[in-house]
Each structure stands twice: as structure tokens, then as C-alpha cells.
Amino acid sequence: MEIPYTVQNRPDTGLYNAKLGIWLFLASEVMLFGGLFSAYILLRVSQPPGGWPHGWLDVRLGTVNTLLLALSAITTLLAWAACKVREFGKFKFFHACTILLALTFLGIKSYEYHDKWIHYEIQLANGKIADGHLIEKSADFDLAKITGTVTLHGREVENHVELMDLRSPAAQSAKLDEMTIPASDIKKMENYGPRHNTFTAIYFTLTGLHALHIFGGTLVIFYLWGPGSKLYKTDPERFTNRIEVSGLFWHFVDLVWIFLFPVLYLT
């Protein structure tokens, strides 16, 4: 026996099954990211004054990624519309764009991760702090054995606080240089990974989870674009529904980014 309303709308709800399903799923996603955002808000609000960093992320890259996702949302919609009017070739084109845009997004995101990963804050023996991007570690560099040197491109500051607001005029005008630090001068060396502070922690967690969603969505769209598109030949209406449902998911992922961008990059 066939399950009813897989393609047609049920008259009293006006929806087909998968559409209701995806909205329910999105409702739960709202609560998932809601939980994370409420963690973000609480942790940020409870920081001591000056404890929340500003300007740690590259706004230019963030903007580009925002536009990429916005574009991909649009190509997704057009892909669905193309299916709806039964223009299969255009569908293929638009969704190819979606996939490429998504992959570019992920590429930029991994570049940003990498950038944070090689960014070090080093507490020096003299109480100052060296902060910058890793250029190279000498072959024999080993903190435990106290051998070798590490070269950073960055600057030296008196106090950790100076590193918090990179938007401040002082930080903007600071000169970055290459500096080579012997292991013997290093008290503690830590990169800007998740454990660095609350900001990096929430940054990596939120964007990481979001990137996983992008990745999953891309897989689905790729499947529907490639092998899954066979269904178009036999049941175009059902195929169009699938494109709509996956599109709704994709738009939701875009929606999350619309909040992640200002929350992490701009404030």
C-alpha cells in the first residue's frame, strides 16, 4: 500500500509529507542553534569588561562568505523553479553553481581556520607577550627540551589586554615584524585554537557545526544533482519536491550564517 501524500498535498494541511517533515526538522534545528546562541549570549554577557575580543576575524573574508551563501541560496531557489517549469538543463546549471559556491565557502572557511591555527600567543620569560603568525619553527624546536627557536610575524605587547581589541586605533597602528624567539625565552605558547579563550571556543564550535551543515547539505545537493536526478525522468513532480525540501534546508543554513557573521565578525 502506498503512503499517501508523498507527492500531492493533503487537502486539510495543504502540505506534502516531506515538506512538513523538513519544517519540523528545521524547528528542531532552530532550537539546536538556539541553544548554542544562548550559550554565546550568556558567555559574552558574563565576561568581565574588556574580556570579549573585537576584530579577531577578517571581515573581508566573512563578507565574501556571506555573499557566497546568499548567492547559493538564490541559485538553489532558481534550480527548484527550473525544475518546476521542467527545464532540466537550467536546473543542472543552477545547482552546479550552488555546489561550487558551497565548496568555495568551505575553502575560505578552512583558510580562516588555518590562519587561527598558526596564530600564536607566546608568554615570554620577561613578562611580555609575543603574538603573531607562525613563520617557521627551527628543526630542533622543542619546548620541553628547551631547544631551538620559533619565528613569528607579529608584535610584542606589554599586556594581554592590548591583544583584545584589534579594532582600537592603537592596535591598528601597531607595526608587525618578524621576530625569532628562542625556546628558552618562552614560558607558555598557545595557538588561537578553541581552548585559547571563550571567543575562539565559541567561534570554532559554532562555525564548525555550521560548516558540518554546509557539508551535509552539499552532499545531498550533489546527490540530487548527480545520480539522484534520474528520478526526474520518471517522476518529475516528486523530484521537484525533493529539490524544494533540500533547498529549504539550504536556506536555513544560510539563515544561520546571517546571524553568525555579525555575531562573530562584526561585533
Binding site: 495543504g14 541553544g35 536556506h251
Partner: protein
Amino acid sequence: MSEQPVSLNSYIRLCGVVFVVVLCTTASMIATSYAHIGSSNDWTLKVALILAIAVVNAFLVAGYLMHLLSEKKLVYTVLIFTVFFFIGLVGLTMWAMNDFPPGTASH
């Protein structure tokens, strides 16, 4: 979306408009972020403004791209409850974290 699209071109036009607006909102968010609003180390006002613009942006995506504006009542109902509980989660947690017995201190 229940109604049949009239033609692909009408969609392309809609998308063009949406994209231009998204461009504008994004630009204005960034502008707000760099503008000198409020005192330099109090971000509250700025955050509020920026988030307000983000909400506009989100409304566009949800309303037009996800066709929420023409969606069925059932979907609204589900989403209204979801948003309500989300506000409850954030709001009550915030409230609880700010209502300790007098004399409580964090150290």
C-alpha cells in the same frame, strides 16, 4: 510553495532584487560595525543595531527564498511555538543568571 511559478524569468527578477537587498544590508551591517556609535568600548547599542539589520536580512531569506510569506498555517504554528520556546530558553536563562541572592559575587 503552492502556486505554480509563472516563469523562470520572474524568479530571476525576484532573486535579483533579493540579492541587491542582501548586498545593501550586509554593507550597512559592516558600516554600522565600523561607525562611531555610542562609546568606544560599549558595544551594546552597536550590537543591537547590527542584529536588527541581520533580522531584516533573515526575514528576506525566510520570507521570500523559503516562501514563508505564503506558507501554510500549520507551518506557522509550529514555528511560532518554536520561537516562543527559544525566547523562553534564552530569556529565562538570562533572567536566572542575573537574579541571585543579594551579596552573591563572582570571583
